[in-house]
C-alpha cells in the first residue's frame, strides 16, 4: 500500500484549517470565546487545558456538531462554519469521541466499514442485488478496511463484537473507523484517556504513523503532557473558553500564563496537570 503524501499543491502554504474568532455559549456559559487557531497541512497540533476549558466544544464546532455563535471556520478554502456534520465529513474531516461512540453490537470490521460510508456510491437496490458496481465497491472498501486492520494490528479481533473489547482496544477501533473515511484532517478527542502507559505508547505510535503514512493533519486533545509534548509540533493552551497560549511544546512549557493556569502562580511547568479521574 503506497502512502499517498498529500503535499505539493499550491494551497500547501496556506493553513489547512482556520478557526477565526469562534465563540459558543450555552445559556450563560461561555464555552468558547473568540478562539482563533490555524493548523497547517500535515501538522500534529494539540489542544490542552483544564476540564471545561472548551477543548471539546471547539472540536464539536469544527466537526459541525455545534454551530459557532460568532466567528468562522474555513477548511481548505471552504467555509464550513454552518455546514452540516455529513458535509464536513465528506470534505475529509473525521473525528473520534471522548466517550467512544461505536456500535457495541457490531463487529470490529463492521464498525470500521461504516467509516467507508461517505465513499460508497451504489444505491439501495443494487446493493441488495449485490452485483456489478455494488460488489466491486464492497470488495474495494473491504480491502481498504483490511489495510487499516493490519495498520492498527486488530487482525485477531476483526470478527469480534465491540462490546466485548477492552477500553484501549475500542479506542483503537474508533480510530480505525475515523481513518476509514480517509480524512485529510483527523480530530482526536482524548485518544489516550483512561489508558495505561503501554496502551498510551501504542496509541501515540499509531497517531505518528497515521501522520507519517498518509500525511494526515491531526488535531489532538490530550491530558497526558508527556505524550502531547512528544508528538505535537504545535500546542494550543485553553483556559475557561479562551486560548491563553500557542507555540511549540518548548515555548508553551516555559510560558508563565500556562504555568499559572495549570499549577497556580510560582510553580514550574514540567509536571503535567495529572491524570483526570475516569
Amino acid at each position: 500500500m503506497a502512502g499517498a503524501a498529500a503535499s505539493g499543491s499550491e494551497i500547501a502554504e496556506r493553513p489547512q484549517l482556520v478557526v477565526a474568532g469562534a465563540s459558543k455559549r450555552f445559556g450563560g456559559v461561555r464555552a468558547v470565546e473568540g478562539v482563533s487557531i490555524s493548523v497547517n497541512r500535515g501538522q500534529i497540533a494539540s489542544i490542552i487545558g483544564p476540564n471545561g476549558a472548551g477543548k471539546t466544544s471547539l472540536l464539536n464546532m469544527i466537526s459541525g456538531f455545534y454551530k459557532p455563535d460568532t466567528g468562522s471556520i474555513t477548511f481548505e478554502g471552504h467555509d464550513i462554519t454552518r455546514a452540516r456534520p455529513a458535509e464536513i465529513a465528506a470534505l475529509g474531516i473525521a473525528r473520534t469521541f471522548q466517550n467512544i461512540a461505536l456500535f457495541a453490537g457490531m463487529t470490529v470490521l463492521d464498525n470500521i466499514m461504516l467509516g467507508r460510508h461517505v465513499h460508497m456510491r451504489s444505491g439501495v437496490l443494487s446493493s441488495l442485488v449485490y452485483w456489478g458496481l455494488a460488489q466491486r465497491e464492497e470488495v474495494a472498501h473491504r480491502a481498504r478496511c483490511e489495510e487499516l486492520i493490519e495498520f492498527l494490528e486488530l487482525e485477531d479481533l476483526r470478527k469480534q463484537q465491540v462490546s466485548g473489547l477492552a477500553y484501549g482496544l475500542r479506542k483503537r477501533v474508533e480510530l480505525g473507523r475515523a481513518l476509514a473515511l480517509e480524512p485529510k484532517l483527523l480530530l482526536l478527542d482524548e485518544p489516550m484517556g483512561g489508558m495505561n502507559q503501554e496502551e498510551k505508547e501504542d496509541m501515540a505510535r499509531y497517531v505518528l504513523d497515521v501522520n507519517q503514512h498518509w500525511g494526515t493533519t491531526i488535531i489532538l486533545i490530550e491530558h497526558d503532557m508527556t505524550v502531547v509534548m512528544d508528538i505535537s509540533q504545535q500546542v494550543n493552551v485553553f483556559d475557561r473558553g479562551r486560548k491563553i497560549a500557542e507555540g511549540t511544546p518548548a515555548e508553551v512549557q516555559s510560558n508563565p500564563a500556562v504555568i499559572d493556569a495549570y499549577l497556580g502562580a510560582g510553580s514550574h511547568a514540567n509536571a503535567g496537570p495529572g491524570e483526570k479521574a475516569a
Partner: protein
Amino acid sequence: MTVDITLPQLLRKNAATLAARPAMREKDLGIWQPYSWRRYWDETRDFALGLAAAGFGAGDKLAVIGENRPHLYFAQLAAMCLGGVAVPAYQDAIAAELAYVLDHAEVSIVVAEDQEQVDKVLSVRDRLPHLKLVVFDDPRGLGDYDEPILKSFGEVQQAGREFGAPHPQHVEAAVEAGKPDDLCLFSYTSGTTSRPKGVMLSHANLLSAAEALTKAEDIRAADDHLAYLPMAWIGNSLLSMALHLGVGFTCNYPERPETLLRDLRELGPTIALAPPRFWENTLTATLVRAADASWLKRRLFNLFRAIAERAETRRGAGEKVPLGLRFGFAIGEVLIYGPLRDQLGLRRARWVYTGGAPLGADTFRFFRAVGVNLKQVYGATELAGLCSAQANRDVDPDTVGRAFQGTELRIAENGEVQVRSESVFKGYYKQQEATRATMTEDGWLRTGDAGFIDRRGHLVIIDRARDVGKLVDGTAYAPQFVENKLKFSPYIGEAVAFGDARPFVAAIVAIDPTTVGNWAERQNLAYTSFQDLCAKPEVAGLIRGEIRKCNRMLPEAVQIRRFLVLNKEFDADDDEITRTRKIRRGFVAEKYASVVEALYSGAGEVEFAAEITYEDGRKTLMHSTLAIADVEEAEARPEIAPEPAISAAQ
C-alpha cells in the same frame, strides 16, 4: 539411505515440477494468499542475487529474526543457495541474548521481520563487528530511519536483479555446486545449562531426518501444515523447511501470533507439531469453556468425555470395547467429539505430534479419546530434529515410540540414551571441547537424556541424565519425573522439584493464572493482582490438593512433602526457563537458594527478593514474603466463606 541433494537444489526441482502449486500461504488483507513453488524459487533467487551483490558468499552467515513469514524462508534458502549458513534466532529473545548469538555465529547479514526486531539489532550493533547489512520485511515505522546499514527486502531483491543482468546463472551455478555435506543451518540450543551453543547442521543432516520421518509417517504432498513454532526451534526447521521441501506440501503461516487459534480453525491443517504446552493450554481452555457453558451442554460434555476416555483406556490396554460403550461413543462423535475437533481446527488432522518435553497422560488421553491422533515424538537439535515417533497403532503416553529407520539407539551404562544416524550434527560452532564431550569415541551422540527401551522396543525418557539424583537415604529420584506429574494439574503452570542430597522431595510451584483465576472467580474469591492471588491461603489449599493427587502417582519415597506457591511465573526473560520453556534447574536452584533452604529448614515463610526483567530488558526488584506449607498436615484447608465478594477482573 544417503542424501544426494541439497535444500536449494530441492527448491529448484520443486519449482520445476510442482510449479504453480501452493508452497506457502500467508494471510494478506484478511485473505489467504498462496505463494507458488515457482514464486518461492524466483523470490529466493532474486534475494540471493542481492546477497551476492552485497558480497555474501560461501561460508557467510545470515540470521533471520521474526515470526514465520515467507520472506524469512526466502532469505534462509537464499543464503543456502550461495553456500552460506542460515541462523534462525528466537524472535522473543531480548537484545542482549540476540547479540550473543549474532556475534557468536559471526552473522554478516540479518533479516528482521519488523521494526521491533530491527531496533533490537541496531541497539547492539556495536557488539557485532561482522554485521554488514540489516534487511527488514515489514517497512512499518521504519520510514524515517536514516541508517545506511538498513535496507528493505525489496531493495535487496531489486539490487539483486540489477546484479543478475550482467551475472546470469550466478545463483543457479552456486546451487549446482552445493554438496549435501555442506553446512547450511546453525540452530542455537536453548541453553538449559549455559550459553546457547550453535549446532552445525548440513543439508544431509536435515534431509536424512526428514526422509526418515516420511518413512515412519504418512505424509503427502497434498498436506496442509500450519507453521507457527519459533523459527529458531529445530522442529520448525525440520518440518517447515527440510520436510516441506522434501515432500512438497503446503506451509501456512498464521497472520499474527494472536490469531493462531482462529487461523488453525480456518485452515484445518492436516498435520501439525506442537510442544506439550500448546496441548495443555488447549485442554485447559476447552475445560474452562465447558465449565462456563450452560447446564445441559456442560452435562453432555462431561458425560461424553467420560465415555470417550473409558473407551480410549480400553483401546490403549488392547481390550475390546463393549458394545454399549461403542454405541455411546458413536453418539458422542456426532454431539461432542466432531464439533470439538472442528472448533479446535483439528477436524482434518490425520496426525499431530507433541514433542520437546513430556506431555501429561491426562492431556494425552483426552485428545486421543476425542479422536485427535496425537502422538509423542522425541528428538534433539543435535539430531536435526526428530529421531523417534509412535506409530498409529502403537500409541502410549509414557513412551516416545520407536527409533526411525536408519537411526540406531543404545542405552549407556549410566542410563543415558545414545544415538547414531546420518542426522547426527557436525559439531558445535567454535566449541570443539563441547562437541567432543557430546560424542562418544565410537561416534554416538550423547543425548544427555536418561531413559530405557521397554519390552515393545519403545524408547522411554525419564529425565535429563545429569539431573537424576539421590535422596539422603539413597533413593534414586528424577526431578523432571516429579515435575511432570505436578504439571499435569491444570492449576499448576510450572514446578521445580528439589531432592538431590536432601531428606525428602520439596517443590516450588508457579500457578497457572488462567485456571486458578477462573477457579477463584467460581469460589467468589476476590483478588487484586497475580501476586495477591498467589498469596491466598485458599490457593495454597487448592495446590495442596493437587499435590496430594500427584503424590498418589509417585512412589512413597519420592512424594512431595513440602511446597511453596511462588508469586510470579517462571519467565524466559528472567533466565528461569529457556525460550522453549524448559526449566533451567541450576539457575533456579541458585536464584531461589534462600527459598530452597527454607523449604528444608521447616520455616513457615520466607523473605524473598526476586529480580524481574521486563520485555524491554529493564530490571526491577520485587520483595515479598512467601508462605511455605506441608502437604500432609492436620486438615488445614480453610472453608471458603460464602461472602458476596466482588469478583475481581483478571
